[in-house]
Every structure is written in structure tokens, then in C-alpha cells.
């Protein structure tokens, strides 16, 4: 039992899970990563505006606690599949922001050597099998990775991220069913930010709670506050442990919100300014987490400022790395199409 945990057990009964399960150092690490995700995306957004990044991107600002809470119980060699809104997942699973920036800048030092960009960001060595441009495209792949884990008896657990919009794709249904009948070590995580692009879950989805669909696959389903790191980490821990014990898959719905538009071309016509402002002001996951950390004495104002400063430096260095990295040569266009082409 950690020091924080002991203190907590000695104190109030309803100390949040994270403060029982993790050391202060670990919790400060989580805060660091929360800021890292936020600043990474702000940095990417800014670079996009300056014309340094082309294409489009999907920012997860406002959803950082979900990515970090879910990845909290994962080991280094556990695996995830991610989505078009996958920067947070990537950082949460252990990627470095310099190589992520390099990817966005289309450089050879990027995680995908400039071939994938934001929508295909990955870090296979850290267990991230990749974001996916196809809504729900990663769900069956996660099930396949979990089947591998079971066949190879390597003890790995696979986490499969997807959005509320993805829950209406056929791939969701087929995948959850197979994972259930084969009792695979996979955790399905539906990050419900209320909208699939412009379409609210109320307009797209027949049930109110997506976690209720778990019953159709005879697996546990739970809905948690996705902006509460501790709540997410607790749900994830339960599900990951269940998977690790060989008892099969679970479905976690993390209720959250994206502050930014769907992508760079969104004009936010499907939701109100008030709604956005309310989430930003009242339910920002970083604000909530910082308040909690202070409440439990894990960090003070100065500590927070230090985290922010460290993150800023990391981001600035990352962007610099990306800028100065080489772009792929035109002659390398066919690389990686086939393995024999390198």
C-alpha cells in the first residue's frame, strides 16, 4: 500500500480511488501528462494555423482525463487501438511529443515517417497500434490483438478506444460479440463526448447510456464521469484486471466533452456557445484534477506552475525537433507499401 493510500485509509472513508491507488509522484506524473496532452494539441493547433501542418486534425482538448484514466492501469506492453481523436491516447500510452510533432509536420522522424499524420498517429513500440481514420475501424483490430494475446498466453490486455458515434457502426456490434464469446482480454472504451461530428447521441443512438449496450454482449458495462481522472482510472482498473484474469471483455463509457470543433473545418452550428462554455468553466478535467490534487495535498500552486513550465519546454523542444527534421524524399514514395520495399 502506498503512502498516499495509507494516509487516505487513515483519513476519510471516501477518498477517491486514484488517491488510494497511486503515489503522489505518480499522481503528479498524471498531471504532467494531462498538461502535455493539452499543450501538445494547442501546439499542433497553432502550428496548423501557421501553415506548418496541413490536412486536418481532431483535438481531444477537454477529454484528457479519459485517455489518462483508462491507460493508468496498463503495463508498457499492453496495447491500445485508438481513433481519429487519438493524440491523447498516444501520449497517455507513452509516446513522445517530439516524434508526434514530427509526424504532424510530415517528417521522416515522425512515428509514421510522415506517411500517416494526425489521423494515423501510432507508437507501436509503446503499444499503440494506431489511430484510425475509419470510425470503428480499430475495434475489430483490438479484438484481434486480444485474440493474439490469448493465443500467445502473454498476459497482455488490449484497450480499444472509440467514440459515441462509433457505437452505431456494425463493427462495434460484431467485435463486442466476438470478444464476449471468446472471453478475450480486451476493454472497450467508448469516449462519449456527446456528438459524432455534429450528430448528438440523442439523435443517433437509440439508448441513452451507451454502456447499457454491454448487456447485449453479456459483458459488464459502466458509465463514468470521463472528466474525473480517478473515476475513469477506477473503472479501467476493474476492467483491466478482469481481462487480465481471463474473465473477458468489459465496456466502459466515459462521459466527456470536446472543447474544440470536430475538426479544423467545424463551425459548431450543432451546439450552443453556452454549452461549450459551461463545460470549459465547470468541468474541465485539468481544473478538476488540479483542485483534487491540492485538496489531498499532493501538489501546491508552485508545483502546478512547475509542471506547466516543464510541459511548455517539452512542447517547444518538440516543435523545434519537428521543424528541423528532414522530410521524406520524393523517391521514397513507394517505401512501406510492401515489406520488400523496405
Amino acid at each position: 500500500m502506498s503512502a498516499t493510500a495509507k494516509k487516505a485509509a487513515a483519513g476519510a472513508a471516501n477518498v477517491p480511488f486514484a488517491f488510494r491507488a497511486y503515489t503522489p509522484d505518480q499522481l503528479r506524473g498524471v498531471l504532467h501528462k494531462m498538461h502535455l496532452i493539452r499543450k501538445f494539441e494547442e501546439g499542433a493547433e497553432d502550428s496548423y494555423t501557421r501553415g506548418l501542418i496541413h490536412g486536418t486534425m481532431h483535438l481531444s482538448i477537454g477529454q484528457e482525463a479519459s485517455a489518462l484514466g483508462i491507460c493508468a492501469p496498463l503495463k508498457a506492453d499492453d496495447q491500445i487501438t485508438s481513433t481519429h481523436r487519438g493524440h491523447g491516447h498516444c501520449i497517455a500510452k507513452g509516446a513522445q511529443v517530439d516524434r508526434m510533432f514530427a509526424e504532424f509536420f510530415g517528417k521522416t522522424t515522425g512515428y509514421c515517417k510522415g506517411r500517416g499524420g494526425s489521423m494515423h498517429i501510432a507508437d507501436v513500440s509503446a503499444g499503440n497500434l494506431g489511430a484510425n481514420g475509419i470510425v470503428a475501424g480499430g475495434i475489430p483490430i483490438a479484438v484481434g490483438a486480444a485474440l493474439s494475446a490469448k493465443m500467445q498466453k502473454n498476459g497482455k490486455v488490449v484497450v480499444c478506444f472509440f467514440g459515441d458515434g462509433a457505437n452505431n457502426e456494425g463493427a462495434f456490434h460484431e467485435s463486442l460479440n466476438m470478444a464476449a464469446i471468446w472471453k478475450l482480454p480486451v476493454v472497450f472504451v467508448c469516449e462519449n463526448n456527446g456528438y459524432g461530428m455534429s450528430t448528438s447521441t440523442a439523435r443517433s443512438t437509440a439508448v441513452e447510456r451507451i454502456a447499457d449496450r454491454a448487456a447485449a454482449y453479456a459483458m459488464p458495462g459502466v458509465t463514468v464521469n470521463g472528466n474525473d481522472f480517478s473515476a475513469v482510472a477506477e473503472a479501467s482498473t476493474t476492467a483491466v484486471e478482469r481481462a487480465r484474469r481471463g474473465e473477458g471483455p468489459s465496456l466502459i463509457e466515459t462521459k466527456t466533452y470536446r472543447h474544440r470543433g470536430h475538426s479544423k473545418s467545424d463551425r459548431n452550428r450543432y451546439r450552443t456557445k453556452e454549452e461549450i462554455e459551461e463545460w470549459k468553466a465547470m468541468r474541465d478535467p485539468i481544473n478538476l484534477f488540479e483542485a483534487e490534487l491540492q485538496q489531498f495535498g499532493v501538489i501546491d500552486e508552485a508545483g502546478i506552475a512547475a509542471v506547466r513550465a516543464a510541459v511548455e519546454a517539452e512542447i517547444a523542444a518538440g516543435i523545434e525537433f519537428a521543424k528541423t527534421s528532414p522530410a521524406p524524399a520524393a523517391a521514397e514514395g513507394l517505401n512501406f507499401v510492401y515489406t520488400e520495399l523496405q
Binding site: G55, R115, M119, I134, G196
Partner: protein
Amino acid sequence: MDAKVRELSYSQAVQEAMAIALESDPRVFLMGEDIGVYGGAFQVTGDLVERFGPERVIDMPISELGGAGVAVGAAVTGMRPIFEFQFSDFATLAMEQIVNQAAKMRFMLGGEVSVPLVMRFPAGSGTGAAAQHSQSLEAWLAHVPGLKVIQPATPHDAKGMLLAALEDPDPVMIFEHKLLYKMKGAVPEGHYTVPIGKADIARPGKDATIVATSIMVHKALEAAAALAGEGIDLEVIDLRTIRPIDRETVIESVKKTSRLLCVYEAVKTLGIGAEISAMIAESEAFDYLDAPIVRLGGADSPIPYNPDLEKAAVPQVPDIIASARALVQGRR
């Protein structure tokens, strides 16, 4: 009396066609992802939902297979759906309904039903959207009997061919290149149609024929204009429809010019240029050929994210100029 002609963008032209159809035919409705208040990923449906209401401009869940099937079912029971894929790449999820159902239903049922279904596929690369959002898959559908497949290249044709598609009793698949949406051109007001199955000689010439599709028509015209300065006179055919192909127009052109260059963005192997080339090589025009038939198509790779690699992966104007020049000058 001729209709008034304005400058409209390609996307405005498509939108205008849909508005006319919604206005004049109660059987017409639109279905797609984020085509309502969002106005469509490429703003093609724009404010149609405000004008015609959410019952006729339907935002569907992210369910391409089911959605396509819903459109098929509505089409065989008296409606005239216009279904928008948000990106043509997502057709990969709905091939079952497009190919096994929409294309074959009339045939399998011995003519007892028609499937008057229009589907729109925003296609192509050039937007930095990487490998899963940049494909040109039209050749797949042109391989499927029962479908008609068109690729309007101008705002004028985008409107007129969509209106023609709505009058067609069979399923019509429309591939719209995303980079064309902002392109402007002359578009008559009101209702008119541009026939499916007829190619357009976009530029008459005598030294070689370029058969191009979609955005490549414009690149080919640019190349032709450049080569005109060198005294090379190219004929540029805008194929417009890739199933059924307008054999006659292409064959006559090749008989005249004796040289053929096919330009298309899709992967070269088994892209539409393969069919054009093979069609000519087995036709009476074969005997008129003075040079090998050349194809300029997309690279043998997925579309890369890096913008320079992305451009290099599909034919650009300098590539067309080089190929056409070599073709006419007999070098290869």
C-alpha cells in the same frame, strides 16, 4: 428561351440540383452523415435542411452499411433517395448493399423492381487527409453491371448529371472530386440534364487524344494549353461517365488522332484507364494507332500524408505535359 447562366462553384451546383429535386419531387430525400445542420463535411448540402426540413435532409448515424441499405429499401418502395457518403472511402463499408443489392436487385427479381438510387461519393486526394480519406475507388463500381457510374468534372455537369441521375430508374453512383468543390463555372438556372453515357470533347485537337476523368480533365486542359505553345494540338475528352463508357466518342477521336493517353487519379493498375486502353486496343481504332497507348494514373501506393509525397502520388500537369509530348513526338 435560354436559362440565365451564373458562375457557381461545383458544390453550389450540386446543391442547386438537389434543391430543385427536393422542390419538384416529393419522392426525393437526402440521407447522409452530418448533411443537416453541419451542412455536410464539404458543405455541399449547406442549408438544405433549413429549407426542406430534417425529414427530407436526414442526418443518419454513422452506419454506412445500414444507411446504404435503407436507401436501397426506400428506392425500391417508391422514394428517390440521394445518399451522401461523407468520403468515398467509406463505401468500403457499404459495398454489400451497393453491389449485392442495389446493382442486382432488379436483375435477380426478373425486372419486378427498379432501384432509382443516387449515391454521391466525395473522392480523391489533395487535402492532406492521408490514406483512408483520399482514395479514388470508382473503378470498383464501374466493374459492376447494374450500376451507372459518373464523374462530372465541371459545375455545369455536376448539376445536369445529378438531375439526369434522378430521372434514371437505375442506381447511379456519382464520384465528385473534393478539390473540385470550390471550382467555379457557368451553370444555367433551373432544371436541365446532361445525359449519362455521353463523353464531352472538352478541347478538340488532332495530334493525340487525352481521355481524362474528373479533376484530371482540368489538368489535361492545362497541359494541352501549354503544349499548344509548342505546336502540339491535343484533343481532350472529358469521359464524364465511366459506366457505361461512351465508346463511340473515344473511338472516333482515336481514329482521328492515332494516339491515346489516359489520365486518371485512381491507382493506375485496373483504374479506368485500363478499360479505356483495352477498349481501344480491341476496337477498330487499333488499326489507326501510331503509338503505344499510354496511361497516367496514380502511384502504386496508398495516398501518403506528407504533402509533397501526396502530390507526387497522382498525376500533375507537368507529368501530363511530359507524357503527351513524348507520345506525340514518338518518344516513350
